[in-house]
Amino acid sequence: MRELVNIALPKGRLGEKVYGMFAAAGFECPSILEPNRKLIFENEEAGVRYFWVKPSDVAIYVERGAADIGVAGKDILLEYAPEVYELLDLNVGVCRMAVAAKKDFRDNPERTLRVATKFARIARQYYASLGRDIDIIHLNGSIEIAPILGLSDVIVDIVETGKTLLENDLEPLETIVPISARLIANKASFRFKAAEIEAIQEGLQAQVKQA
């Protein structure tokens, strides 16, 4: 019996969309769509085993080899810099990492800039490249509130449509980097399951081109 390829998918809307691409590429696993609380699904015929994990954990499962491949946002890959292969840009979950501030914000370069964010590493690297001294305020959610309450001067966060920013009287100032979902692979798994992983990669590539 051949070994299954273990695939970590991010729980949520993005994961469902990505599963659709895997299925269309010939790696379906119908039981995954049944409404239940199971987290692991297998289809021996297609040679795949899927599991749902928290989106920010996908890279950890793949880096440590519990999953052979997975789908993670570029934001997570930049923030945690896992030792994985980044095989394909799936071109879904497209958004950008941006700096945003209150509409009346005026930057004073004489002062240390206070930056609230979930993505400390990305923010630090971005401002280091500008030579700007910053004070990172690490938050886990509702980042938009920080400048409103005077906790920070600006925020670094994911911007999809900009609607949340607008509703909170904020505006995007700069784009740091465009973000989308990527197919990632464990470096050792790629050696031992190369043919299977490349078959999936090719199947998904065709899906990306069609879209």
Partner: protein
């Protein structure tokens, strides 16, 4: 299996086999102290696998470090000798920040270095020993070779800024073809894309790259890679392949670099290459090649040889006579079995046989 082998953990068994292997090829053991002057590491900070060194002040005021690396110390202690090479192996604990936990860890590292007038034979011998080392751990190993000269020539042809060049090299290391396309819009990058996609046996990968390495440094590098792969194939190293995603720091490494993988271990267990550039930076004119095996990763190997924690559990009561019990235990151990004398069986213990010590004798 003899009792000594039985009591060894897989990584210890591997270590003994590796030492025997290296000695067989004339490598002698390099033994070093736990400390080095911190200065040695500051000057070559980027060469270290991780940043972060444990430092302390010695009684005479010098800043010392618990060694995070062995190669630098070996280079420091070698003398220049024309026409021959120094062949050394080591098995040392190093202290460095572990990637996932961001804490200092003591890591057992074994490796070898070949320093001096390194020629094609020496180069092939070191890579052959790397392959043999992996074979000892698991015969399904993969040893991937790359050549920094091939990668550098294809990247340099694009004439990029230093920053863009660093980003391209990162993309090559990630097999990130989409990233390279985005960084070089409208440029002729067919060679680079072929390089990223190519991996597998050398007789398949090298011909695919030939059209992009037709002359100059690129051709010379690809020829060298082909020559080395040819020698290793003739030596019967079945697990040797070519994969250009192995991109070590170009400030230190040149020529051939390689990494080894074992099924069941999620990261590379062996890493090495030619580091002539590091030698130059340390004021040496000799050439050098070597590799290291991260023995701590071998902990993850399943211990197939040890299905049981102990052969025999010998249960005795509160009133057992110590002299008679002691003799009973000795009787069992002398028959070649391992014995655990207990008043009750510990939870989750895996044992072959349960015996009782009653009325001065052993009973089933």
């Amino acid at each position: 299996m003899n009792p000594v082998d039985y009591s060894l953990k897989p990584e210890e068994r591997v270590l003994f086999a590796l030492r025997a292997l290296y000695q067989k090829y004339g490598y002698s053991q390099f033994k070093m102290g736990k400390f080095e002057e911190y200065d040695l590491y500051v000057r070559n900070k980027d060469f270290l696998v991780s940043d972060g060194v444990i430092t302390f002040t010695d009684t005479d005021g010098r800043l010392m470090a618990l060694k995070p690396d062995v190669t630098l110390s070996i280079i420091k202690n070698t003398r220049e000798a024309f026409g021959c090479v120094q062949k050394l192996y080591y098995s040392e604990n190093v202290y460095r920040v572990s990637g996932s936990t961001r804490c200092f860890k003591e890591i057992m590292q074994t490796g070898l270095e070949c320093i001096g007038d390194v020629d094609l034979y020496n180069l092939c011998e070191v890579i052959f020993l790397a392959a043999q080392s992996l074979q000892i751990i698991d015969e399904r190993y993969v040893l991937d070779l790359s050549h920094m000269g091939v990668v550098a020539a294809l990247v340099d042809a694009l004439e990029l800024t230093d920053q863009a060049r660093a980003e391209i090299l990162k993309c090559i290391g990630e097999k990130n073809a989409d990233g390279v396309r985005k960084l070089c819009p409208g440029r002729d990058i067919d060679g680079l894309l072929t390089l990223i996609a190519a991996h597998g046996p050398s007789d398949r990968v090298i011909p695919a790259l030939r059209p992009y390495c037709a002359q100059g440094a690129a051709k010379a590098a690809l020829d060298e890679l082909e020559a080395v792969a040819g020698v290793l194939a003739a030596d019967g190293c079945a697990g040797v392949r070519v994969d250009f995603s192995i991109v070590n720091d170009m400030n230190y490494y040149n020529g051939i670099v390689f990494m080894g993988y074992i099924p069941g271990i999620p990261a590379s267990v062996l890493s090495g290459g030619q580091y002539d550039k590091l030698m130059r930076r340390m004021g040496r004119s000799a050439r050098a090649v070597g590799f290291a095996i991260y023995m701590d990763l071998l902990e993850r190997l399943e211990d197939a040889a040890r299905p049981y924690d102990v052969d025999t559990v010998l249960l005795y009561g509160e009133d057992a006579d110590a002299v008679a019990l002691s003799q009973a235990v000795r009787l069992l151990t002398e028959s070649g079995r391992s014995v655990l004398a207990q008043k009750a069986v510990p939870e989750k213990l895996r044992y072959r046989q349960l015996l009782r010590f009653e009325d001065g004798g052993i009973k089933p």
